[in-house]
């Protein structure tokens, strides 16, 4: 049975291409395109003060590498127009009297216009501007205290946040997305492959032939899923290699833990694929159904959108999503390097989902034969 499946897989060159090319293309596309980082934000400047202080502030904005000056506006109307037309995402305006205000101990204002159509980029850009502004303000404040304040006031309490980013110290989006791509790709591929493998037999009418042979249903299912299983593991290894070698994602955990997680995850995706195949009569239907199941599973997995930010009912739904657990295992083994002592709930959940889905598909499969 297993041999027959492998033969069929080898015969279909088109299928082989379809299995290998999209994952690799996806890995590279996601790897390079998927980023929430903020660099080189197109920025328009309007410096109506034209003083040393204003130039210093603007210079420290551009020196941060986060902002790229794409236009210098001559007046406020032009600045607004630049942002309106999308020529710049951020417009920075320094009002006249900026340097004077700093010197005389008043508050100097910098106006920032943000195109917040992309709220995320806007938020992060605003944080960078805030950090740069805070540094400047700190310098000026210290300077003022030194010059103006009486001796007993030279000291003033201050609180700073010492940030210690763990696991991904440079906030590299790729470190977050590449392990996620591995999980999502395997999810889509293995569910589809299993679903099609059974439906194809049904469509071509060879399912009856096999059923009259002495092969038992359980053996049939095992034989059907083993190639997908092997392929899934091979694929995981391949993409992991590309991720660590090409994209330089650290791998800090143990290969064994990842292997166990992958095996448990595959058991649930294969069960899901089988279940879909028992509901559908044609490959066409199988495609539509798997699509209908995979899309929500993908959205709910936490691949792009953090689960913690979802409303509670959706958060409950994510608990039924095997991909959610696998992504947690992947990201934890890659970036955090934690082991089973932390990941056992995820492993348990995947095993339970796998068992449930496989059992359901066997029951349905028996029924669909009668």
């Amino acid at each position: 049975m297993l041999l027959k499946e492998l033969l069929q897989l080898r015969r279909d060159r088109y299928v082989r291409i379809r299995l290998l090319v999209p994952p690799l293309v996806q890995l590279f596309m996601f790897g390079y395109a998927a980023t929430f980082e903020v660099h080189r934000v197109p920025t328009a400047l309007l410096d109506r003060d034209a003083s040393q202080a204003s130039r210093d502030l603007l210079a420290s904005l551009t020196a941060s590498g986060r902002f790229e000056v794409t236009a210098i506006a001559a007046n406020e109307a032009e600045l607004i127009r630049l942002v309106d037309r999308g020529r710049a995402s951020i417009g920075v305006q320094i009002h006249p009297g900026f340097a004077a205000a700093l010197r005389s101990g008043r508050t100097a204002t910098v106006q920032v216009l943000l195109d917040s159509t992309n709220s995320n980029t806007a938020l992060i850009a605003l944080r960078y501007i805030g950090t740069i502004g805070r540094t400047l303000a700190g310098d000026v404040a210290r300077d003022r205290l030194g010059r103006l304040a009486p001796a007993e006031l030279r000291a003033i309490p201050a609180i700073v946040l010492a940030e210690r980013p763990w696991y991904n110290p440079v906030f590299d989006s790729r470190w977050f997305f590449v392990p996620g791509v591995i999980g999502s790709l395997m999810f889509v591929l293995t569910v589809n492959m299993t679903a099609f493998a059974v439906v194809r037999e049904r469509e071509t009418g060879t399912l009856e032939q096999i059923m009259v042979s002495p092969i038992r249903p359980a053996e049939f299912i095992l034989g059907k899923t083993l190639p997908s299983f092997a392929l899934g593991l091979a694929l995981a290894a391949l993409i992991t290699l590309v991720g660590t070698l090409w994209f330089q994602i650290p791998f800090r955990g143990s290969v064994l833990v990842l292997g166990l997680g992958t095996t448990l995850f595959l058991s649930s995706t294969l069960g899901l694929g089988l279940l879909i195949s028992t509901i559908c009569r044609t490959q066409q239907q199988a495609f539509a159904s798997s699509f209908f199941v995979l899309t929500p599973a993908f959205i709910l997995s936490g691949f792009t959108f953090p689960i913690a930010s979802m409303p509670l009912p959706l958060q409950w739904l994510t608990r039924l999503d095997p991909l959610r657990y696998y992504l947690e295992v992947l990201r934890s083994t890659f970036l955090k390097g934690v082991g089973l002592e932390v990941l056992w709930p995820q492993m348990l959940a995947m095993a339970a989902l796998g068992g449930l889905l496989t059992a359901a598909s066997i029951v349905r499969f028996r029924k669909s034969l009668e």
Partner: protein, 379 residues
């Protein structure tokens, strides 16, 4: 090309669509499902992040700080722990995304006018949420520090004027004033739903005729190639527009995404985008003559690039130059620019000429390609 014959083909196609209720159901349910899931689930602005706090000071001052963290809408599940390794374990297990450590001399240093550092351990795995978490924490600390400094100065009976904040950054966020990531994601879902349904259904339409051998019958009638193609696409065009209408209605009516432009501009852009999507799907199904292959390739060719390279979630101007060059081929990028501009900015059509004409050109090019390919395949 006559209208009568084109409509006849369209009617035949419509009957075929009706006979396949499952596909039609998916066509109608998909937008609702996507809208619901993404509308609620797709938040990038990270609210309710779990934060754990290790307060080593336990003073009145540190309690006041904790209180402010607790009151913030951005942090949830604030828990205080007694040991450092409990904090580490929580971060390791992902139960906490941010761990704040208040040093033991927090209140003493503040009272004596010294500088004190609160440590923020942040789980950087999800770099985006990590950024936001630090940003929120900084904002809270800034506010707290300003209060402490104000107190300090007042208690010494000094004028506060000497200590006004040197710099204030006055941010005006336009178009999406509350910085709500929903308003940024949801317009894209309209396009996503249309692209999916259009690509899936239309790619099947032509391939089905080949598979069943009915294409030969159609060709032997006096109907021309262009009439067949237009006639076949019309019903799917109608379905796609209906999907778009459903999506926009949900977006504006339910999720309260602002609609600042004109309906006419939106309809024109949507029609163009849908046309391109259908023509691409058609081109694929003319080239690959089996339904399964055609629908899979169509989904791969539209969905994947659309998700990744159109600016739907990931900003295009942040991509490396070669990838940015590829995005010009992804027609979803032009539509997304237009939809967001119409909904959020209320831009007049005059501002959108560039992406609109890009879409029109695209439609023309793919239309010509598909017709030519189709004619050739008949010979």
């Amino acid at each position: 090309m006559t209208v009568r014959r084109t409509l006849a083909i369209a009617r035949k196609e419509l009957i075929q669509v009706r006979r396949d209720p499952r596909s039609l159901l998916i066509a109608m349910l998909m937008p609702v499902l996507l809208m619901g899931l993404l509308g609620y689930g797709a938040r990038l602005d990270a609210r309710q992040l779990p934060v754990w706090i290790f307060d080593r000071d336990g003073s009145q001052e540190s309690q006041a700080l904790l209180h402010q963290v607790r009151a913030s809408p951005y942090f949830a599940l604030v828990r205080t722990v007694e040991r450092y390794d409990a904090l580490v374990a929580a971060l390791d297990a992902g139960r906490a995304r941010l761990g704040l450590v208040v040093p033991p001399d927090f209140s003493r240093r503040l009272r004596s006018g010294e500088r004190v550092a609160v440590q923020a351990l942040v789980d950087g795995t999800d770099d985006n949420s990590a950024h936001l978490a630090i940003g929120y924490a900084e904002a809270i600390l800034d506010r707290f520090a300003a209060e402490v400094q104000g107190d300090w100065i007042r208690r010494r009976g000094l004028s506060e004027r000497a200590f006004v904040a040197p710099l204030s950054i006055e941010a005006r966020t336009w178009y999406n004033e509350d910085l709500d990531s929903r308003h940024f994601i949801i317009p894209g879902v309209v396009a996503l739903a249309m692209a999916l349904v259009g690509a899936l259904l239309a790619s099947l339409a032509v391939a089905r005729e080949w598979e069943r051998g009915t294409m030969e019958q159609l060709v032997s009638t006096p109907v021309t190639a262009a009439e067949i193609l237009v006639g076949k696409l019309l019903p799917y065009f109608a379905i796609g527009m209906a999907d778009a209408a459903i999506c926009v209605a949900i977006a504006v009516g339910w999720f309260a995404v602002p609609f600042r432009g004109t309906l006419l501009a939106l309809a024109a852009a949507t029609a163009l985008f849908l046309l391109v999507t259908l023509l691409v799907a058609l081109f694929i199904s003319v080239t690959i003559r089996n339904q399964l292959g055609a629908s899979q390739i169509a989904i791969l060719a539209t969905l994947l690039p659309f998700n990744m390279l159109s600016g739907f979630a990931f900003p295009i101007d942040q991509m490396p130059a070669p990838v940015r060059a590829i995005t010009y081929v992804v027609w979803g990028r032009y539509y997304l620019t237009v939809v967001k501009a119409i909904l959020l900015k209320g831009s007049p059509l005059g501002d959108l000429l560039a992406p609109m004409s890009a879409l029109a050109l695209y439609a023309l090019a793919v239309g010509v390609l598909a017709t030519r390919r189709f004619r050739k395949s008949l010979d």
